[in-house]
């Protein structure tokens, strides 16, 4: 035995140390950071299907969290197995994968490429082989018969574009509509809507909804302002076009950029997907500027949230009648301008997260009446010992099934 003392002691120490480490780390996992919704007033149902994506910063440690009413998932400390089983971090896509596992095989998990209603699930992407050869890759699933239809079609008049991207997919009246942004090789961008007849499997209509001309010393942005994570049927497509130009100044021998870029074009457009009509929204410049990603359309009315001296306001614009409605003042205690962390308009409700002295509150109000539906606090549990200073950055609020 004496001859073996070295190897025996090494084996014993190794087994003890590694064993102790992994039994302890198993215990530790149960004490991960957890964030609870603590109700102050309102209905608990409001937060039952809510998911908040946020970063928590404690000291100099960061954690990416996915928070729901039941659990808080720390994306950083997930094991390889959990990461593999996750498929995607986008709940709507995960939901599709769970329900239609075969149909979803091999598809890019970008929610923009999907559409779902009671009868079918649609997928459309643009595959670009080279600049002259782009094609639609289309897959449809009939929910009742479980039948899938797949076809590929050449993108009509795709030659001028160096790059194309699907921004939304919609289906109505047996027609599939693919809304795509195209960057022209010669400069500038277009927003196109391609309508395809599903039965005939051909493109029946190709409309350039907006053409943003090339800017000599600047750039153009066409951004579709709809919920990125939504794959539901929609009647309206809201998009914003911004053209920026750099101020040129005579530097030493060469031109140099001087100061802030200038906004030359600032259009907000709305497209009626049922009647194939587009119109420009007419309003004062500041109002147009305030229309951003936080704006949303609900029941043919566009809602634009803003913070005014009197509190939190929502401007309303009726898209059918082209009229501005009465501003809605949301019944909510607002302390100062800069404590609003995150605003989201979703499903006819407004969700607001505020921060005051490391206190985070969640308010949910009805968009139509402005009445408060839920008031609550976000309670951070199991942060690190002795650390009370933490920062909470909300990246997104969404709903889960």
């Amino acid at each position: 035995m004496k001859r073996y003392w070295k190897i025996l002691s090494l084996c014993m120490v190794t087994v003890l140390v590694i064993g102790a480490f992994y039994t302890q780390s198993g215990l530790k996992a149960k004490e991960n950071t957890k964030i609870d919704f603590k109700k102050v007033s309102g209905n608990d149902e409001e937060v039952a299907h809510l998911m908040i994506n946020a970063d928590l910063e404690v000291g100099n440690l960061y954690q990416s969290l996915q928070i729901t009413n039941n659990e808080t998932i720390n994306l950083n400390s997930q094991s390889v197995f959990q990461k593999l089983a996750r498929n995607s971090t986008v709940p709507v896509v995960n939901h599709l994968i769970e329900q239609y596992r075969t149909f979803m095989r091999g598809k890019e998990v970008n929610p923009n490429y999907f559409y779902e209603d009671k009868e079918l699930v649609a997928f459309a992407a643009i595959i670009t082989k080279d600049s002259r050869d782009s094609s639609f890759d289309i897959d449809l699933l009939n929910k009742k018969s479980k039948e899938t239809t797949s076809f590929q079609l050449a993108v009509p008049k795709s030659q001028p574009y160096s790059w194309m991207e699907v921004v939304d997919v919609q289906v109505n009246d047996g027609n599939l509509k693919v809304i795509a942004r195209g960057a022209r090789a010669a400069g500038g961008s277009d927003l196109n809507i391609y309508t395809m007849n599903i039965d005939e499997q051909r493109v029946v209509r190709n409309e350039v909804v907006y053409t943003a001309p090339a800017v000599k010393n600047g750039w153009v942005e066409i951004s579709v302002i709809n919920d990125y994570y939504s794959i539901q049927p929609e009647k309206w497509l809201l998009f914003k076009v911004e053209n920026y130009e750099d101020n040129q100044a005579q530097g030493e021998g060469e031109m140099a950029v001087d100061g802030e870029p200038k906004l030359v074009v600032n259009d907000v457009m709305v497209y009626d997907l049922e009647n194939n009509q587009s119109k420009k929204i007419m309003a004062a410049d500041e109002v147009l500027r305030s229309i951003s990603n936080t704006s949303a359309i609900f029941q043919s009315t566009m809602y634009i949230p803003s913070i005014a001296a009197s509190g939190f306001e929502v401007s309303k614009y009726d898209l059918e009648k082209d009229k501005w409605g009465k501003k809605l003042t949301v019944d909510l205690p607002i302390h100062t301008d800069n404590n609003i962390q995150y605003i989201k308009l979703m499903n006819g409700k407004v969700y607001i997260i505020q921060a005051t002295n490391h206190h985070y509150t969640l308010s949910i109000c009805d968009l139509l009446t402005g009445k408060s539906l839920y008031e609550g606090e976000l309670i951070v549990k199991n942060t690190r010992e002795g650390e009370h200073d933490f920062l909470f950055h909300v990246n997104d609020i969404g709903s889960v099934q």
Partner: protein
């Protein structure tokens, strides 16, 4: 069985001196690192606060609090880990070639032992595994000690306290100490598969000499290809048809094929082909 254990013990004792040196270097360098990093920061703070009369709060805003992560990212800390890795990688080759190239061709005696020759092969593999796990355990024991030392050297107001589990969230250390035991088994099993493939490639060379080098390289390339086949096929030919979890299980199967293939081929080579 006891013959096999004797072989392992024998191989281990041959590495013992070098092993002690590696452990010593690791302990010395990492402890020095903690002292140097902590003292530099404390001196900087003293200078700023007492000589330049900067308020403490201002100093923390400018320089940040010191945490153990500041130490794990230094060469003092990662350097010895790197040295151990390099030495062990070389030793994977040396463990075989020393038997042929030593003063007296020791391999002759090893292969003549009244035991299955594959035991020689496996004993060398087990020794490598033991040595690696021993170093991992050493690091796990060292970390809390270094953390205590760090806490003593830096005043409370200037440091962020980290637990052992927060310290190893560092991307480099997370490879050495995976979060769960299942991952630990998986990572180190993968590592051992790689070691066994190299062992078998070495035996190819020892069996067929110059021609064997070619066979060895071909064999290693085939092993890597088989190992990566599920990922490659799924990405290139199937357009990501399979979900990540499904690819993982296929990987597990091909990994085990490569591992058992290495032992099987190694067994044939050492039994019938190897030259002394």
């Amino acid at each position: 069985m006891s013959r096999f254990l004797k072989l392992v013990n024998f191989e281990f004792n041959r590495f013992w001196k070098l092993y002690m040196v590696l452990m010593g270097v690791t302990i010395l360098s990492q402890l020095t690192g903690v002292i140097v990093v902590a003292q530099t920061y404390v001196n900087q703070a003293n200078k700023a606060i007492y000589k330049e009369l900067m308020p403490m709060r201002e100093f923390i805003v400018q320089n940040g609090k010191l945490s153990f992560h500041n130490i794990t990212q230094t060469l003092w800390f990662l350097g010895p880990i790197g040295i151990c890795l390099v030495v062990l990688s070389i030793y994977v080759f040396f463990i075989w070639y020393r038997d042929w190239l030593g003063k007296n061709t020791f391999i002759y005696r090893l292969l003549m032992l009244p035991t299955a020759r594959i035991h020689v092969y496996l004993a060398k593999a087990v020794t490598i595994l033991l040595v690696i796990l021993g170093l991992v355990a050493l690091q796990l024991v060292l970390l809390p000690i270094e953390n205590q030392l760090f806490i003593r050297l830096v005043p409370n107001d200037f440091r962020t306290n980290l637990s052992l589990f927060e310290i190893i969230e560092d991307p480099y250390l997370a490879i050495l100490f995976p979060h769960t035991f299942r991952e630990f088994i998986l990572y180190y099993l993968g590592g051992m598969a790689a070691v066994l493939v190299v062992f078998t490639a070495i035996l190819f060379e020892r069996s067929f000499r110059i021609k064997g080098v070619f066979w060895g390289i071909l064999y290693s390339a085939a092993s890597i290809l088989i190992c990566l086949a599920p990922i490659l096929v799924n990405e290139i030919f199937l357009g990501k048809y399979f979900y990540p979890m499904e690819v993982f299980f296929m990987e597990l199967v091909t990994g085990l094929i490569v591992l058992s293939g290495a032992i099987w081929t190694g067994n044939i080579l050492i039994k019938k082909k190897v030259r002394v």
